[in-house]
Amino acid sequence: MDIQNTTEKLEDFYQLQDLWTEEETDVKNAVRRFVDREVIPHAGEWWQQGEFPAHLIPMLAELGVFGPTLPEAYGGSGLSPLAYGLMMQELERGDSGLRSFASVQSGLAMHAIYRYGSEEQKQEYLPRMAKGEIIGCFGLTEPDAGSDPAAMITRASEEGDSYVISGAKRWITNGHLAQVAVVWAKDDAGIVRGFLVPTQLPGFHATPIHTKASMRMSATSELYLDRVRVPKSFQLPEAHGLGAPLNCLTQARYGIVWGTVGAAMDALVEASLYAKTRTAFGRPIAAKQLVQSHIVGMETRLLNMQLMARQLGQLYLGGTMRYAQVSMAKRHNARAALEIARMAREILGGNGISTDYHAIRHMANLETVDTYEGTYEIHTLIVGRDLLGEAAF
């Protein structure tokens, strides 16, 4: 069996691609081709460097991965949720940090503006964000408020025709690359509001977090807002309360459901091909029952992930997708991908701890993916509440 046949079988054991439309096939192929050529050969090195490779930004914009589901009038291409999912899958097959960049730009920042912004804000930001001329970040988490964002401390006080924003945000993807930060803060009445904060304003500081052992190809920052004054027109008019940022998270989580399929796929393919050529005790390790048991278990989990992603996409397409359904799939897929990558790392033996191979990079990245956009536990509680009608937070 040659490499391509084995890879195809591992990646799509149930021939789900027979269900894809031309659009979905073409989008997947286009993004895969880009990632195979422009990202994967350098991913280990960029990951070690610990910063997002900024030269990719115009290339990703040209490829069209920023806000592709938005209408053409706002710089999008009207991509279906399933094609968008496959795009995320292929980006994260390269690196979770690459997918995170696209997730934050599209699913969080652009989505917040599209869903909650005024027409002027949409016109001003969305087409330029699609072109990668403006990078956005999404500031919800704070040093002392992560899983429970209602506990946020950041305040936006009305002063004349301005809001004055003060507070700190932590773990903000693209924070020090962004020209605009979507900042969530409580107003004088204690209601959560969204603000478009240009990052060059006085009082705004973004500091990179360089101590990460995960998601090293992604830019992650701490934001400090020290009496940052913005005109009232910079507020997102349609966002009232915590529901607004949580709705944005649902978008981004949908992308994670698919992205994790890509990371898991890549780790599983790497480990399987390795097992076929690596010999121990006179035989390829692929011929050992214990290794086969692992590979078959990983393949089964990957298939679960793919089926959940696909049906979730169908629900999205049909307009009936509920956030608890997204939570279920985010919870399952992030954890399954993490465990698949971990086992892939193990099958690679000593080589598995080197970023010359992909497994450990995926594994370390997926620790973040399992935590951000709602931890595994938090999604357990969201689904539990949905199923049982009792909040257990």
């Binding site: 040659d2 391509q4 659009e23 096939t25 073409d26 989008v27 286009a30 081709r33 991509l79």
Partner: protein, 255 residues
């Protein structure tokens, strides 16, 4: 400037080819098909000429329904529309060139671009035969192309063994592309979505009523012989070195 690019779909070079039991061709099931890489250089060059000088880029493809994927990819790179000559038959280079030339002639054009050869059968005949069919000048294996619209001439650099040849010719003409002509762009998501609305005209090859009797028929296709087991020499270095030289000289005949 109206540019036609003839595009062939070929098996991805990473695909492992299986020969059919009848020895007349390859098994097509499970193969990953791609645009012939040399045709991608041709598409890119056409798009660049269009971007500089305006005009239209039309893809002309030939083959069974699977070629539609290559056509969509060409449109997603930025071509304006496409004509597909549909046929399920195995087509030899002469028949392909005859059919393509007929459709190109009917379309009308200023320039025809294509790859210098297709990486499946490596015949490298279709480009030159289209030119011959249409009675046009041609330049093959092109590394650099300049279009002088005012003088209605092309200046092309071609790759020769150890040298570069510069030729000038009038157009309409046929130009075949070599690797190095340019760096083909990626199909993009916005263009994939726009491609859905682009016109793809389908003509069945039969409806062209051309005499397409093959001039070349494949007698038999067979895989290269399995490599023999390697010989491993063991013993004292002095002895094995001598034996190695002897084998290289009298068996392998490379020394």
């Amino acid at each position: 400037m109206k540019i036609l690019v003839t595009v062939k779909q070929v098996p991805d070079t990473a695909t492992k080819i299986q020969i059919r039991a009848d020895g007349q061709g390859i098994q097509e099931d499970g193969i990953k098909w791609v645009i012939n890489p040399y045709d991608e250089f041709a598409i890119e060059e056409a798009l660049r000429i269009k971007e500089k000088q305006g005009g239209e880029v039309v893809i002309v493809a030939l083959g069974p329904s699977r070629v539609e994927e290559a056509v969509r990819q060409s449109l997603a790179m930025g071509a304006d529309r496409a004509v597909v000559i549909s046929t399920d038959a195995a087509v030899d280079p002469a028949a392909a060139a005859t059919a393509l030339a007929a459709v190109c002639g009917e379309e009308g054009f200023d320039l025809i671009l294509t790859g210098k050869q297709a990486v499946d059968d490596d015949s490298a005949q279709v480009g030159p035969m289209i030119a011959a069919n249409l009675g046009l000048p041609q330049v093959t294996v092109v590394l650099k192309l300049e279009v002088d619209e005012a003088g209605h001439r092309l200046r092309a650099e071609r790759e020769l063994e150890g040298a570069t040849e510069i030729v000038e010719l009038p157009y309409p003409a046929v130009v075949t592309a070599q690797r190095g002509l340019n760096e083909p762009r990626y199909p993009t998501l916005p263009n994939i979505m726009k491609a859905k609305k682009k016109e793809v005209r389908r003509v069945s090859m039969d409806s062209l009523s051309l005499a397409l009797d093959p001039r070349v028929t494949v007698n038999r296709l067979f895989a290269p012989p399995e490599r023999p087991e390697p010989t491993i020499l063991s013993g004292e270095p002095e002895e094995t070195a001598k034996e190695l030289v002897r084998l290289l000289h009298s068996e392998a005949k490379v020394l």
